[in-house]
C-alpha cells in the first residue's frame, strides 16, 4: 500500500500540501511567531518521509512542479519592490545608510561568529544570506557553494528569532519612530518581521516591506562581491 502511494506521481505534492495545511492550521490556532508555517510544514514533511522511508532525492524529483515556479516567483518580487520603493522618498539618505550599515553588519557578524566557532566554508556560505528573503537566499547559498536547504532553514530561524527579539531590543534602544521600527524588522527578520510590523500599524508595515525587498535586492548584488573579496 505504502509503495503504491510513494510511487504515485502526486505523492510529493500530496504530502507537501498536507504538511503546509496542517502548519497553517496550527499557526492560526496558536497565533504565536514560533509556529512559522513553512518551518513547521518542513518538519512535518521530513517526518512523513522518514516514516515512509523515502529519501530526499525521490521526494524532490516528485515535487519539481512546485519548486520550478521559484524562479518566476523570484522575478515577481520586483513588483512589490517597485510598489514599496515610493516610500523611500520619505527618508532617502537615512534609509540608504541604515540599509548598508545594518545589512553589512548582520552578514559580517554572522560570518565572524560562525568562523570563530569553527564553521567550515560550506556552512559559512549557507549562513551568509540569512537576512535575505528565502527564494533569493536559496539561490545565493547555492552560488556561493553552500547548501540551499540549510540557507532556507537559517532564513526561517532568523525571521522567527528576529521577530521575537526585536520588540524588546527596540524598546531598550529607545526606538519610537515607526519608519525605524518597521525598516529594522524588515531588514533583520524579513517576512516574519514584516508580519509583526504590520500589527504595529500601516506605516511600520510599509517600511518593513520596503526593507525586506531592498535587503533582498541589495544583498543579492553585494554579497557575492564581498564574499569573493573575503575568500581571496
Amino acid at each position: 500500500m505504502i509503495a503504491l502511494l510513494v510511487n504515485h506521481p502526486m505523492f510529493g505534492l500530496l504530502i507537501t500540501l498536507i504538511g503546509y495545511q496542517v502548519a497553517l492550521e496550527l499557526n492560526q490556532r496558536t497565533r504565536t511567531l514560533l509556529t512559522q508555517p513553512v518551518l513547521v510544514a518542513t518538519l512535518i514533511v521530513v517526518g512523513l518521509l522518514l516514516l515512509m522511508d523515502v529519501d530526499f532525492q525521490t521526494y524532490y524529483a516528485s515535487v519539481d512542479l512546485i519548486w520550478l515556479f521559484l524562479g518566476p516567483a523570484t522575478v515577481a518580487l520586483a513588483v512589490p519592490l517597485y510598489t514599496h520603493l515610493r516610500r523611500i522618498r520619505d527618508y532617502f539618505w537615512p534609509l540608504i545608510m541604515a540599509l548598508l550599515i545594518g545589512g553589512l553588519t548582520t552578514v559580517l557578524l554572522t560570518l565572524a561568529f560562525a568562523w570563530l566557532l569553527g564553521a567550515g566554508p560550506e556552512l559559512l556560505a549557507s549562513l551568509a544570506p540569512k537576512s535575505v528573503t528565502s527564494p533569493i537566499a536559496i539561490l545565493l547559498a547555492e552560488d556561493l557553494g553552500g547548501s540551499p536547504a540549510l540557507a532556507a532553514v537559517f532564513v526561517m530561524i532568523t525571521g522567527v528569532a528576529g521577530a521575537v527579539m526585536a520588540p524588546w531590543l527596540l524598546q531598550k534602544a529607545g526606538i519610537h519612530l515607526p519608519a525605524a521600527r518597521g525598516f529594522t524588522l524588515g531588514l533583520n527578520a524579513h517576512a516574519a518581521g514584516t508580519a509583526l510590523a504590520l500589527e504595529e500599524g500601516e506605516e511600520t508595515g510599509a517600511f518593513a516591506a520596503l526593507a525586506m525587498s531592498l535587503t533582498g535586492a541589495v544583498t543579492a548584488i553585494l554579497l557575492p562581491l564581498v564574499y569573493r573579496l573575503g575568500a581571496t
Binding site: 513553512v38 524532490y60 515577481a76 518580487l77 520586483a78 550599515i101 534602544a173 535586492a217
Partner: protein, 114 residues
C-alpha cells in the same frame, strides 16, 4: 497568461546575462531587470500585477521542498549547533538596535535641520 510569460522571459534573460559572466543567480538578475523596466514605465501593467500577486501567494509552499533538504544535513546542524546558534542570534542582537538607531538618529537629525 501575459503576466507569467513576462516573468518567465525575464528569468530567461537573467540566465542569459548570468552566462555572460555576471556572478549572480539568473532569477535575481531577472528581478533587477524587471525592476528597472518598471521604474522606466512608472507603473505596473495589470496582467503582471495580477500574476505576481497570485504567484507570490504560493511562495511559502514553494519554499518547503528545498527546505526539506535539511533531512540530509542533520550532521552539519548537530555538529555545528553552537556556531550556528551564536551566529544567527548574536548577529541579530547587535544589528537590530544598530539598524534602528542609525535610521532614527539620521531621520530625526534631518528633520531638525530643516
Amino acid at each position: 497568461m501575459w503576466g507569467l510569460l513576462i516573468l518567465v522571459l525575464f528569468q530567461f534573460a537573467g540566465t542569459l546575462i548570468a552566462a555572460l559572466g555576471i556572478n549572480l543567480p539568473g532569477p535575481v538578475i531577472g528581478m533587477l531587470l524587471l525592476l528597472a523596466v518598471l521604474l522606466l514605465m512608472r507603473r505596473v501593467p495589470e496582467p503582471l500585477q495580477v500574476t505576481s500577486g497570485q504567484l507570490l501567494k504560493y511562495l511559502p509552499l514553494m519554499l518547503i521542498p528545498p527546505a526539506v533538504g535539511i533531512m540530509s544535513q542533520w550532521e552539519v546542524i548537530t555538529s555545528s549547533f553552537v556556531a550556528i546558534s551564536v551566529a544567527l542570534l548574536g548577529s541579530l542582537a547587535i544589528s537590530i538596535p544598530l539598524t534602528a538607531w542609525v535610521l532614527q538618529h539620521l531621520a530625526t537629525r534631518g528633520a531638525e535641520s530643516k
